[in-house]
């Protein structure tokens, strides 16, 4: 009897909590607020602070390029601003806060510097119908051009070399590092199917581009 009462009390509490949560979500949806950010804050699954201890100094290469300010990919109608990100606590490259912006992995080389500059953008429709910046990234083709404007006002042109698909937890050495002494720009977004369990898509799409 005692145990039955306890079970009933737990179920009641869960039900109340479920209703309360649903209500909050509905309110959020109604006002167009970012649910992912909300969940992120609620569950701490995404952290925006770069782990400086893990990253150390940035690349010691000829710092000829300025920091990126804007990316333009005419072939897929992208013209977006940059956010700068580091690593999340679980060692992944962080993502832009704004689905319409892209994020540059700032511990790595700047776009245009020797090495692999990595830029991430969201994929998937926003709950209020807004599009994510890299919704059409998968339609890029070899030879398409990508333009990055930096703080010096220079426009650095990259040309798509190849497009690859990775598992979410695949070794990303090829994405973040290169040793051919050339400047690369690698664009990362998601693709595949949404997986509720991991709150993410099943694949990652990487567009490898080389400085023209």
């Amino acid at each position: 009897m005692q145990s039955k009462t306890s079970l009933q009390q737990v179920l009641l509490a869960v039900s109340i909590a479920g209703i309360a949560l649903s209500s909050v979500v509905i309110i959020l949806l109604a006002f167009g607020l970012p649910t992912q950010g909300f969940f992120a804050k609620l569950f701490g699954s995404v952290k925006n602070s770069a782990s400086s201890a893990a990253v150390g100094a940035s690349a010691v290469v000829g710092a000829t390029a300025g920091s990126p300010t804007r990316i333009s990919i005419p072939d897929i109608g992208v013209d977006a601003a940059f956010e700068f990100v580091g690593l999340t606590d679980d060692g992944a490259m962080d993502v832009p806060k704004n689905p319409a912006a892209v994020a540059w992995f700032s511990p790595g080389p700047r776009p245009g510097e020797v090495g692999s500059a990595v830029v991430a953008g969201h994929y998937g429709p926003w709950k209020d119908g807004r599009k994510s910046v890299f919704d059409k990234l998968h339609t890029l083709q070899k030879g398409d051009s990508i333009y990055v404007t930096d703080t010096k006002g220079e426009i650095i042109v990259f040309v798509v070399r190849e497009i690859r698909t990775y598992d979410p937890y695949a070794d990303a050495t090829d994405v973040f590092f290169s040793s051919d002494g050339k400047a690369h720009l690698n664009l990362v977004t998601c693709e595949g199917v949404w997986d509720e369990a991991i709150q993410g898509y099943s694949k990652r799409l990487v567009v490898f581009a080389d400085k023209e």
Binding site: Q8, V14, V55, T173, S179, G181, V188, R204
Partner: protein, 726 residues
């Protein structure tokens, strides 16, 4: 009247000639060498002046054979008979001619000049009691004069310089005469004040004064030429006033002298300390030193001698431990023939040979080269480490000579606790190196910094140098050699701070290649350097090229032997080594080294070998190489033999490849030093390859379904709860 004067002059001249002959026995002050300065286009002018004043006390016109220029002229009332042009005002170039010629004269005076005393009359002064002078430089710190009625004789071909600290004044009826080949063009008067040329009682058919009067343009430097004076020469007084009075002045014919410049240079390789002034070049005619010879050596443009046409021999006093060679316009035995107007240069090169020129029998060399790798964020450079061979301080890339044979020299450095130290090349792992006579050993010290790896490991530089001497051999003996150095960037990043250090040739001049002039050796850029020297014995020249990129240095060393005195063409070999990849970003990995072996010389190479101190698997004996197009097992100059070697690297590694090949009994070798950066194998702690970002948003439907699910679950729970309550 004129006949009488002529007769008396002749007698006077004879008397003086006798006196000169006597002087030859009693000796006179040795003259300093003097050289006629260049007066440029002013040579056609009899008079150059600011205000030119002329007077006619006897009705005889002043007669100028040559050009005249002035700012303010004498006017029509007092005409001048002139054969050349009258220019007004004087062109500024006349002033330049004058000042540069004066500067030349003053430099000669400062260098070496016979001091005749203060306020003297040169017709009778100690050492020149009869007023006779041989070619040379003569000075007075005060005034300089010629007593009335006396004669000064300039005896012999050559340049005469008379420099005074005050005015130059010649008395009435005094003469300056030329004998034995002396020429008015080569006589120069440089007063430190006004010039006053004395009058003649009667007109003279022979010159009463000779030479070029070079006035300073400052105040109190005016020129006055007395009545009836007869000048064979020039009055060059730009900016100053000139006054004449029924005189005759004629521009002399051009000098018949030739100019010989003697340049002395010293090659202090391997620690010699002599300087050019330690050497005493001679210029001799028929075995006798010419005026001013010998004199201490001077560097280019050298010491000048004004000499009459003829064949001269230059030589140099023996200097212990130095071998002297003669080049330029002189034959190697020092002979040079001068014609009138020639300007020739002879060069003495004095090369330090500590063993007295025994052909390297007791010597060998060690070149210590340093490589620094800052792949963990530290910033030391080559200069931060002091290098030693035994107790001798040495400089990276500089070849040092040491006595040989010797069992073991030891290479050391003042270490840095934040850097590891590795020896390679001819050194053993402890820096010891043995020497046999004639060896040219190379010891490489690599310093790698210790510290936390950085997330993106730096790409190291990669440079390659090849050196070719021309000619490869000097069978006839000592002679000039030109080395051509070709420096290439064989890596993937631009290389900066390029230094080229050669052991026996300088300067090493960049001829071409830096097309954008940014002092950066760009990827695939090729820079061409040249250097010329004179080799007196068989010698192996070693060049060390160093460059930097991303905090890492690379060094390449090329050596080339030139045979002197024997008809043997030495071998040359070159190896270019390229690793792939240059960076291993994730802890460890396989690297493939490619060795490209070529023959930049002319002699086919036998017994070609290739080895690497840290990569095993290269063939120990090479035969039937696919690059041996004519299948003769000889590496010809048109062949390329490639080799590869794979090595698993777990840490940043600098290794040294070496190729050797033989021809005509001699063996050539070349080294190639490359660094491959390995990101330290500690990914868990310090180096993380980021995971891919989670960039997805759930689709709207997916989101809605989730919420519906939550609602359903909550509602179901509520129903169950209510039922159980019921």
């Amino acid at each position: 009247m004129r006949k009488n004067l002529y007769k008396s002059l002749t007698i006077t001249t004879l008397v003086f000639a006798l006196a000169v002959g006597m002087l030859g026995f009693i000796g006179s002050t040795p003259a300093s060498a003097a050289t006629s300065p260049d007066i440029g286009d002013s040579s056609t002018y009899g008079i150059i002046s600011s205000t030119y004043t002329n007077s006619i006390n006897t009705g005889t016109l002043t007669d100028i054979t040559g050009d005249l220029c002035y700012t303010t002229g004498p006017g029509a009332a007092v005409p001048v008979s002139i054969s050349g042009a009258t220019v007004t005002p004087c062109a500024p170039a006349r002033g330049t001619d004058q000042s540069s010629a004066l500067a030349d004269l003053n430099a000669q005076v400062a260098d070496s000049c016979n001091d005749l005393g203060v306020n003297i009359n040169i017709n009778s002064v100690v050492g020149h009691l009869t007023g006779t002078y041989t070619p040379g430089c003569y000075s007075s710190s005060g005034t300089m004069g010629i007593t009335s009625g006396t004669t000064v004789t300039l005896d012999g071909a050559g340049t005469y310089i008379f420099k005074s600290g005050g005015a130059i004044t010649t008395g009435t009826d005094s003469f300056v005469v030329l004998t034995n080949g002396a020429s008015a063009s080569d006589v120069f008067w440089a007063p430190g004040g006004a010039t006053n040329i004395g009058a003649q009682t009667a007109t003279s058919t022979t010159p009463s004064f000779v030479g070029n009067i070079l006035q300073n343009s400052g105040a109190a430097f005016d020129v006055t030429i007395g009545h009836f004076a007869n000048i064979l020469g020039r009055v060059l007084a730009f900016g100053r006033d000139v006054t004449t009075d029924s005189i005759t002045i004629a521009v002399p014919s051009a000098s018949s002298l030739a100019t010989l410049r003697v340049v002395t240079q010293v090659a202090n390789y391997y620690g010699g300390t002599a300087v050019v002034s330690d050497f005493n070049p001679h210029v001799k005619l028929s075995g006798t030193d010419v005026t001013g010879s010998p004199a201490v050596g001077v560097v280019s443009p050298g010491r000048s001698y004004s000499l009459v046409a003829g064949t001269y021999v230059v030589s140099e006093d023996v200097h212990t431990q130095y071998i002297t060679t003669i080049s330029g316009d002189c034959a190697t035995n020092g002979t040079v023939t001068l014609a009138s107007g020639d300007v020739k240069t002879c060069i003495f090169t004095n090369t330090f040979t500590p063993d007295g020129g025994t052909g390297g029998k007791n010597k060998a060399t060690i070149t210590v080269a340093k490589v620094i790798i800052n792949d963990n964020g530290r910033t030391k450079t080559i200069a931060d480490f002091s290098l030693f061979v035994n107790t001798t301080s040495v400089v990276s890339g500089v070849t040092n000579i040491f006595p040989a044979p010797a069992a073991a020299y030891v290479v050391t450095e003042t270490g840095d606790a934040n850097y590891t130290k590795t020896f390679s090349g001819d050194c053993d792992s402890t820096g010891h190196i043995g020497l046999s006579p004639g060896d040219n050993k190379i010891c490489i010290i690599t310093n790698n910094d210790i510290g936390a790896p950085i997330v993106v490991p730096p790409v190291p530089p990669l440079i390659d140098i090849v050196k070719v001497p021309s000619p490869l051999a000097l069978p006839a003996g000592p002679g000039p050699v030109t080395y051509t150095y070709t420096l290439r960037n064989t890596g993937t990043v631009p290389v900066t701070n390029i230094t080229m250090v050669g052991d026996t040739c300088s300067p090493i001049n960049l001829v071409s290649g830096d097309s954008n002039a940014n002092a950066t050796l760009e990827v695939n850029e090729t820079w061409l350097y040249r250097c010329s020297t004179i080799l007196v014995e068989t010698h192996t020249n070693i060049i060390t090229a160093t460059g930097w990129a991303n905090g890492i240095s690379d060094v390449d060393i090329a050596s080339a032997t030139v045979i002197v005195g024997e008809p043997i063409v030495p071998p040359l070999i070159h190896v270019t080594k390229i690793p792939s990849p240059l960076v291993l970003p994730a802890g460890e990995g396989m690297v493939t080294y490619t060795y490209i072996v070529t023959n930049p010389g002319t002699e086919p190479l036998s017994d070609v070998t290739i080895a690497d101190d840290k990569c095993t698997g290269l063939p120990s004996r090479i035969s039937g190489h696919p690059g041996d197009s004519n299948k003769n097992n000889l590496l010809e100059s048109n062949e390329t033999w490639n080799f590869t070697c794979q090595s698993k690297l777990t840490q940043t590694t600098t290794n040294t490849g070496m190729a050797t090949g033989s021809a005509n009994g001699l063996t050539a070798r070349d080294v190639a030093i490359v660094t491959v950066v390995v990101n330290a194998a500690a990914p868990v702690v310090n180096t993380v390859v980021p995971k891919l970002p989670n960039t997805g948003y759930p689709e709207d439907m997916g989101t809605a379904a989730g919420f519906v699910g939550i609602l359903i679950a909550a509602s179901a729970s509520f129903i169950v709860f209510r039922k159980r309550r019921a």
